[in-house]
């Protein structure tokens, strides 16, 4: 175990797989521009390349390389930059295996940061995970700890399908314990970050920490919150969530996106169908307010869900129902 920043843990996952498999490529903008770049030095320019600002071509090239037998990892920095290439992400990469009747595999990883609520204003701060979550053929990963960042990245690279790896930008410099040596975290297995019997919270990314903070506050009031981090939202480990709700009878979903663009809402709808009989109270959502993210610090803080709003939702859900 080593203490590593989240961002280094992601790199460790990429290294682990690049060392193991010569078919893994790593490329994107503003990396590998000198010979002493860490990845260039170790793997060479056949496998590590800088690209122009051309996301459509970058992701499209990854698709073609994947169909031809390679395993590309594309560095995209910010999830928004995928929007200029959204066709490649949702209407090309995940379609080919199906449309060809299984003749091709498209193993690739799109590494993208999101949710950078640190003064990056309206166009760089989005929480876009829900856009990808429902696309058949695509897998979507949202690590919230450094250890998972490494292990989920490695699993993503080994997966034979296109994977969107969404890492929260405000977590990148947070440190955490990361297993040395080969580390893989399976897809479709949620992590229960805190156990509790009164209310279930489901959250991803940065919101996991806020949910845990809220849970600590609430514990002092005698409210025991169970915090579930799905880790991958496609595939989604609904069983773990339903098991928890069966125990608590109450669900709060926390999501950094505006209300109608959340992973949390999608999960709430699943529970409203498959876990309905467990529910003692409405499923509350804590989301960003329905605006573009503002620049000014107090306004940004007002818009993004904070611990106080999570605490409040849990208190409200405790008051309602039987």
């Amino acid at each position: 175990m080593a203490q590593l920043p989240f961002i280094a843990a992601i790199d460790a996952g990429i290294h682990q797989e690049m060392r193991r498999d010569p078919n893994v490529l790593y490329f994107g903008q503003n990396l590998a521009t000198t010979e002493n770049h860490e990845f260039v030095a170790e793997y060479g320019h056949d496998r590590v390349r800088v690209t122009p600002i051309s996301e459509t071509a970058e992701i499209g090239i990854a698709i073609g390389a994947a169909m031809a037998g390679l395993r590309p990892v594309v560095e995209l920095y910010m999830a928004e930059f995928m929007l200029v290439a959204m066709d490649q992400v949702v209407n090309e990469a995940p379609r080919f295996r199906y449309m060809t009747g299984g003749q091709v595999k498209v193993p690739l990883v799109l590494k993208a940061g999101f949710g950078f609520a640190a003064g990056w204003a309206g166009q760089h701060t989005g929480s876009l995970t829900a856009l990808f979550m429902g696309v058949p053929g695509l897998k979507v990963v949202v690590p919230s700890t450094a250890a998972d960042a490494k292990g989920l990245m490695a699993t993503a690279i080994r997966d034979d399908n296109p994977v969107v790896f969404m890492h929260h930008y405000l977590l990148t410099l947070e440190h955490g314990e990361v297993p040395d040596g080969e580390h893989l975290v399976p897809f479709g297995v949620a992590a229960v970050r805190r156990t509790g019997s009164d209310v279930t919270i489901v959250a991803t990314g940065w919101m996991v920490n806020r949910a845990l903070g809220a849970a600590a506050t609430l514990a002092a009031e005698g409210i025991e919150v169970e915090v579930i981090d799905p880790r991958t939202v496609a595939p989604l480990d609904l069983d773990t969530i339903l098991t928890s709700v069966a125990k608590t009878g109450r669900l709060v979903v926390v999501d950094q996106a505006p209300r109608h663009a959340t992973v949390g809402g999608i999960i709430a709808a699943d529970v409203a169908e498959f876990g309905f009989s467990s529910l003692k109270a409405p499923i509350l959502q804590v989301n960003a307010r329905d605006v573009t993210v503002p620049y000014s610090e107090p306004l940004e803080a007002y818009v993004i869900p904070d611990e106080a709003r999570i605490v409040d939702a849990v208190r409200r859900v405790m008051q309602s129902g039987g």
Binding site: P52, S54, G60, T100
Partner: protein
């Protein structure tokens, strides 16, 4: 760089493939009236582009790859795909090359090097470059053929990909089949170069690669130009852009009708939209298939009788393909749930 010109045998092979593509497309088209309703959605034919397809792919070697668009029936035929499996796919049957999941727009045959097609204009261009990166890493001199239309050169994907392919010296040959139309829009209406009377190959200037315009109705001319590009790519010298001028002899695609109304092929848009019947008829007079046949017969490479025999052989082959496809069962319903993930 000098290139060997195709032998008589190779030229006969070229004609054979051109005839096969034409006959296949004719049979697809006839299917709309012979078996109304069996073909669904939107089907786009390669008639008129046979010489270009066959001339370009005459340089295809095992290990190479080709990618194209929704207008994709010609390439796999030239690469050796079984027309029975292709026709069955177009009819959505269990024996289809893509198990009925892809249909006319997405014929794919990886075993024969036809790696995939995108129905989104321009979107397949970077896929070809990606496959070329894989070829470059394998270092066996393999190349990738990337086919797309003139209209596709107005998508950002074209621009972004050609720049990268040039920078990385990827072994890819960009073959733009310029048929003068994007559905009902003429090149002059949508392309600044065309509007100025310039060839579209001039776009290569922005990507520092050879840009050549060729008569795509002449398979030997195409073979020569593409041959140079392929040699260049195999030698590690990078990509080329070939503008191959063709004329599509059918409408853009079959008509778009609501469910229940039988689909069919209307006349070419030059006639239906622009009232330029003479343009279309001139193209018909220059039809590359009979022209190449005539050339081979005239030059003595093929006797008239041998040519007729070829025609008959190809007609028989495609007849079998249609009958096979019509007789093939539909896939099991639950098979729709397979092949989502690998």
């Amino acid at each position: 760089m000098s290139l060997q010109s195709p032998s008589s045998e190779q030229q006969i092979e070229m004609l054979t493939q051109m005839l096969r593509i034409r006959e296949f497309e004719e049979r697809v088209k006839r299917t709309f009236t012979e078996y109304p309703g069996v073909i669904r959605g939107h089907t786009h034919l390669a008639d008129g582009a046979e010489a270009s397809i066959v001339g370009a792919l005459s340089h295809f070697k095992k290990g190479d790859a080709a990618l194209a668009t929704y207008r994709c029936h010609g390439y796999p035929l030239a690469l050796g795909t079984d027309p029975k499996a292709m026709m069955a796919e177009i009819l959505g049957r269990a024996d289809g090359i893509c198990k009925g999941l892809g249909g006319s727009m997405h014929l794919t045959d990886v075993a024969n090097g036809f790696l995939g097609t995108s129905g989104i204009v321009g979107a397949g261009i970077p896929h070809a470059a990606g496959a070329a990166w894989a070829a470059q890493i394998r270092k066996k001199g393999e190349v990738v053929f990337c086919f797309f239309g003139d209209g596709a050169s107005k998508q950002g994907a074209f621009h972004e990909t050609l720049n990268i392919a040039s920078l990385w010296k990827l072994p890819v040959i960009f073959v733009m089949e310029n048929n003068g139309y994007n559905v009902v829009t003429t090149s002059e209406q949508e392309d600044a170069n065309a509007a100025a009377g310039q060839p579209l190959a001039i776009k290569a200037t922005s990507y520092v690669m050879p840009g050549v315009t060729v008569d795509g109705t002449d398979p030997l001319a195409v073979a020569e130009v593409v041959g140079h590009a392929v040699a260049r790519a195999r030698a590690g010298e990078g990509p080329s852009l070939i503008e191959s001028k063709v004329y599509r002899l059918s409408a853009h695609g079959n008509i778009i009708a609501p469910p229940g109304v039988p689909l069919h092929y209307p006349e070419h848009e030059a006639i239906t939209v622009f009232g330029k019947r003479e343009e279309y008829e001139a193209a018909l007079r220059g039809d590359p298939v009979p022209r190449f046949r005539g050339k081979l017969v005239q030059s003595g490479i093929l006797s008239g009788a041998a040519a007729d025999a070829l025609n008959a052989q190809v007609a028989a082959e495609m007849d079998v393909a249609v009958k096979f496809a019509v007789a093939s069962p539909f896939p099991a319903l639950e098979s729709a749930l397979d092949n989502v993930y690998a």
